[in-house]
């Protein structure tokens, strides 16, 4: 929080004002007086005031050890008179006694009357000196270093460093290309000993396995003997590493970062819904990195969710709509496949059809699914609950990203409660048609033979699984990175998926498939005849959905924003 000091405001009256003096303190930054709440870190205060201080070891979500010395600034305290009151200058502001030696701004809180010079000759000289020391033993690895392009050392070297090295002696040799854990590779020569990774493991991941050994120029980062950096949050150390010492074994050498197109999205691997940035190039996903959202995931995400995107690029992707002709599936045009599926469903009345939806679908898709169920007259509809081991950091035991959406939108009240009825109905032969949306019915206890015996089995999915060859119509759909849509995470926060890559082959967006299926079955696009306007875009789906459900009132996909909107429950801040 930053309050610009009014020029004509008298210092004494400001001090006396209880509203301001209770929480706010006056700080002079580069000659201009600002106000900050008590307890603000000086380095943050300067950044808020527009004077960014370079730093390596300081990270706002971790403790400050103050060991990189990059954030040195010139600091001063108000000059006190004999009456222990600050002496005021001609402008009515306190006179500052500047300290003769520089201070680190990352371990200093703001205090009343504090003065800072972030760009004085002394501060500039300090940064230059620190940069020169850091680069003494740094290898000339940039052409092969994955960090190049987003490396703090590169950036600050350009901004504050020297063009040439004065170091004539041999560089210290350190271990390179070490497997620190199953997902993290360490290069000790590149390490600048900032200790961010060590503090992350201690403070956030609660898995204290990293540390420094040896002294002076021979100091190296290493894992405790016999232990590895293998906790589920290990890849966050790669994100916070300011240099290329820790690199992701998965992303290593795959793509230079400057080629990556970055799309804001969120992780769909569990109900937490950590905010992410998806890095893509030419319709291929290369990495996912966490994006700061203090209401959801702070600045972190788990390795499981982060690396869980490979399936979108697997050979198993369904690329072509298919219909059953004779006894085998043949490729078909989209309109043929949709019509085929609709005609098949028309043979049965509502109580003979079951719909197996998914907690991985977006709100828009779930809403269309419930509409489809209404139009078909289907009562037997459920989603598949998906549980997994969770932890008390981020990973949720609920591995469906949108269970809340399914419940709010009325697809299911008790997820999984009707699965038994669906399987029993199919086995007994009462249910003659099954619509599986993004789920594999074999996983809920049906056998391939039982599925094959169904007169109609419509599948909408993205990956080929063992149930596909029993289908009578196959409708290939999109994955989380290929579509827009919204989901509600486990804590009731509505978040938005953005499209980062195009879908493969002839696969189509799920909402379009469902809309077309409804249209082919009922012959009308809009929900009821009385409601004007059909569904022509994902925005239309959201608008019509928000008209029926008050939770979404006043919202649209663009209004959800990058950080999401809390629609029920309380914000969990970490």
């Amino acid at each position: 929080m930053l309050v610009e000091h009014e020029q004509e405001h008298d210092y004494e009256t400001l001090m006396a004002d209880p509203a301001t003096s209770a929480q706010l303190v006056n700080v002079q930054i580069n000659g201009v007086w600002h106000q900050f709440p008590k307890g603000t870190r000086l380095i943050e205060a300067c950044e808020q005031a527009g004077s960014y201080i370079p730093r390596y070891c300081y990270h706002k979500k971790l403790t400050s050890p103050g060991n990189c010395r990059m954030c040195l600034i010139e600091m001063g305290l108000p000059k006190m008179g004999p009456d222990r009151k600050p002496e005021l200058g001609e402008d009515g502001k306190p006179v500052i006694n500047w300290m003769p030696r520089p201070q680190i701004s990352c371990a200093q809180d703001v205090s009343e009357g504090l003065g800072v010079r972030t760009d004085s000759p002394l501060a500039q000289e300090c940064r230059k000196g620190v940069m020169e020391f850091l680069l003494i033993n740094h290898p000339l690895d940039c052409p092969i270093c994955d960090q190049a392009g987003e490396c703090r050392l590169q950036e600050f070297s350009v901004e504050y460093g020297n063009a040439e090295s004065r170091f004539l002696e041999n560089k210290v040799k350190k271990p390179k290309n070490i497997e620190l854990g199953p997902r993290v590779t360490l290069d000790d020569e590149r390490c600048i000993l900032c200790s961010r990774c060590i503090r992350f493991c201690q403070e956030i991941a609660h898995d204290d396995v990293l540390g420094f050994i040896d002294r002076g120029s021979h100091s190296v980062l290493t894992a405790h003997p016999g232990k590895r950096l293998e906790n589920n949050y290990s890849l966050n150390t790669v994100d916070i590493c300011p240099v290329g010492a820790l690199t992701s074994s998965d992303f290593r050498f795959q793509m230079r970062v400057w080629f990556l197109k970055e799309t804001k999205s969120f992780c769909t691997s569990c109900a937490t819904g950590c905010n992410t940035i998806i890095g893509t190039r030419q319709d291929a996903i290369y990495r996912q990195t966490p994006r700061e959202n203090n209401a959801v995931n702070s600045s972190w995400m788990c390795d499981y969710g982060r690396l869980n995107f490979g399936y979108l690029q697997s050979d198993k992707r369904l690329l072509q709509p298919e219909i059953l002709s004779g006894d085998k599936l043949i490729a078909a045009e989209w309109n043929v496949a949709i019509t085929h599926a609709a005609v098949q469903l028309k043979h049965f009345s509502g109580w003979e059809i079951a719909i197996l939806a998914s907690g991985r679908m977006t709100n828009e898709e779930l809403w269309l699914t419930s509409r489809l169920a209404k139009i078909l007259g289907v009562e037997l509809i459920d989603i598949v609950p998906r549980q997994g081991p969770g932890d008390d950091i981020l990973l949720s035991t609920d591995r469906n990203p949108n269970m809340n959406g399914a419940q709010i939108l009325g697809v299911t009240r008790w997820p999984g409660a009707r699965l038994r009825d669906i399987t029993d109905g199919i086995i007994s032969g009462r249910v003659k048609a099954l619509v599986a949306l993004g789920e594999n019915p074999i996983e809920i206890g049906l056998t391939f033979a039982q599925l094959q015996a169904l007169p109609a089995f419509v599948v909408m999915n993205l990956l080929e699984d063992e149930s596909i060859s029993a289908a009578t119509a196959v409708l290939p759909s999109f994955g989380f990175a290929e579509k827009r849509g919204s989901m509600i995470n486990g804590k009731g926060r509505l978040q938005r998926l953005n499209r980062s890559v195009r879908g493969p082959g002839e696969a189509r967006d799920d909402w379009e498939i469902l809309r077309d299926l409804i249209q082919a079955y009922s012959g009308q696009n809009s929900e009821t005849d009385s409601r004007p306007g059909g569904i022509h875009s994902i925005e239309d789906v959201f608008r019509q959905m928000s008209e029926s459900f008050p939770q979404f009132a006043g919202l649209s996909l663009s209004k959800i924003g990058d950080l999401g909107v809390q629609i029920f429950g309380t914000e969990a801040t970490r």
Binding site: L140, P143, I144, K171, K176, R252, F253, R256, W258, F259
Partner: protein, 176 residues
């Protein structure tokens, strides 16, 4: 701001034009005489005769990958040339040098390196941007092919054109 270029002041004979025309004509007649007696020759009998020996030192021909004196392919697949290439002619797929290899210290190498010579505009930015002294514009200018695929130089072809470069910095040796 407009710059006014003052016209040169011509003297009397220059304003007459005729002496200049006569002088020009004299040069033309001199060339004509030389041609007539076979003393100058302006047509090069390409392809029997080649440009190669006439090429200036700075000529920019086909880009090529080079090896150094130790036999290592200089390129480390940093992809800066791919980034800088204005017509996007370069495509690189990086690979990792396995542990135990003679050059394992370098860690990274180009698994595939394609330059589409239909796209290449011979600008030389790839050579300029290369931090590893690995890509050079050689003097090859007759780049032909019967298909589009022929015109894509793969890594082998590029190394064949490039050959060995002497006197480059050996920054990946064990001491550095």
């Amino acid at each position: 701001m407009a710059i006014t270029v003052s016209r040169p002041k011509l003297n009397w004979s220059e304003r007459l034009y005729l002496p200049a025309i006569a002088a020009g004509m004299a040069i033309t007649i001199k060339h004509f005489k030389n041609m007539l007696f076979g003393r100058t020759k302006v047509t090069m009998q390409y392809p029997e005769e080649k440009w190669d020996s006439h090429m200036p030192e700075h000529y920019r021909g086909a880009p090529a990958l080079v090896r150094d004196d130790t036999g290592r392919v200089r390129c480390v697949a940093c992809q800066l040339c791919e980034f800088i290439c204005p017509p996007r002619a370069i495509k690189i797929i990086p690979g990792e040098i396995p542990a135990g290899d003679r050059f394992a210290k370098v860690e990274k190498f180009p698994h595939e390196f394609d330059i589409d010579m239909i796209r290449c505009i011979y600008c030389g930015l790839c050579e300029e941007v290369c931090p590893e002294q690995a890509i050079y514009l050689r003097k090859d200018y007759a780049i032909t092919g019967f298909t589009r695929a022929d015109m894509v130089h793969n890594k082998e072809k590029l190394l064949e054109i490039g050959g060995v470069m002497h006197g480059v910095v050996l920054k990946w040796n064990e001491k550095k």
